[in-house]
């Protein structure tokens, strides 16, 4: 069951997607609503699961994590591997931020954050290549990244 949005809802979502700490008062002023009316709309979007939480954005390089790598992983002998065992093991690696099960040339997509290339190599050799069932792996180092507002325009 999906939620229907009007233009005001979309404007609110655009504002919160840029800054989730905005309160109902500044949101209301920006979209032409009173504070309680804005609050009710934000509440409705949250209750409906459209606003699904928050993401803190940090300067990873300033924190000493200079390398982000996207990894495509193909499992070796398909059908004979317990996916849950693989997923549990890969999820437990602290440097792995994202694990997605996909269909296509790879079975899983991973996002890995490392301090530098030698640190990434260590994670790849000691943590990833030793995972149960892991087969072919392809690494691509992220040079730049941007998030788009999506279909809220």
């Amino acid at each position: 069951m999906s939620v229907d949005l009007d233009d005001t809802d979309r404007a609110i979502l655009r504002l919160l997607a840029a800054d989730a700490t905005l309160g109902a008062a500044p949101i209301g002023r920006a979209v032409g609503l009173t504070q309680p009316a804005a609050w009710r709309r934000i509440r409705r979007l949250t209750d409906a699961g459209v606003i699904a939480g928050r993401r803190v954005v940090v300067d990873r390089a300033a924190l000493g994590f200079g390398v982000t790598v996207f990894l495509g992983v193909r499992l070796a002998a398909k059908g004979r591997i317990d996916l849950e065992t693989f997923e549990r093991a890969v999820t437990a690696i602290p440097e792995v931020q994202t694990v997605q099960h996909v269909l296509g040339r790879f079975d899983y997509r991973l996002r890995i954050v490392a301090r530098d290339i030698p640190d990434f190599e260590r994670i790849l050799r000691r943590r990833i290549m030793t995972l149960p069932g892991v087969g072919q792996v392809e690494a691509n180092v992220v040079l730049s990244e941007e998030r788009r507002p999506g279909p809220l325009g």
Binding site: A48, V50, D59, V99, Q100, L103, V141, R148, P151
Partner: protein
């Protein structure tokens, strides 16, 4: 420049971005005043860049999510700029990454259903400029998604 207290605060903040300041201060073992001051300083230095709301596109009826990996024509000097500008014009694109590796650019694209996906694919994706190869990975499930760092 960052000390252990900063790192501890950031670790707890990244682990639970929903936590209010009182909970965060308690977990990091600092007073509310210290937490406030430290967060302020991290923001001033540009280490903390902001907090975004996460939008669940599925709740808005977007059931399909595809990761598209592109190889571009490197003999064309403007390929990256032209491709990126065109990709930004597609409303269903939610992420753009450029890479060093066998893939040049990746897009996250969402669609309401397979019919909608087919329409985006034909009308928008195949029209993107300077592409030599496209490889789609269709999302089945997100098992883990966090901004946490091994601080």
């Amino acid at each position: 420049m960052l000390d252990d207290t900063d790192r501890r605060i950031l670790r707890h903040l990244l682990a639970d971005p929903q936590a209010d300041n009182a909970a965060l201060a308690a977990r990091a073992g600092v007073t509310a005043a210290t937490l406030w001051r430290r967060l302020d300083r991290l923001r001033d230095r540009g280490v903390l860049q902001g907090t975004e709301a996460r939008i669940d596109w599925r709740a808005l009826g977007y059931e399909v999510q595809v990761s598209l990996r592109f190889t571009l024509d490197k003999t064309e000097p403007r390929a990256f700029d032209a491709f990126t500008a065109a990709a930004r014009d597609v409303p269903e694109v939610t992420e753009i990454q450029t890479f060093l590796g066998s893939v040049d650019i990746r897009l996250s694209v969402i669609a309401r259903d397979m019919a909608h996906w087919q329409q985006i694919w034909r009308d928008r994706i195949l029209a993107l400029p300077h592409v030599t190869d496209i490889e789609p990975l269709m999302l089945v499930a997100t098992i883990k998604d966090t901004a946490e760092l091994a601080l």
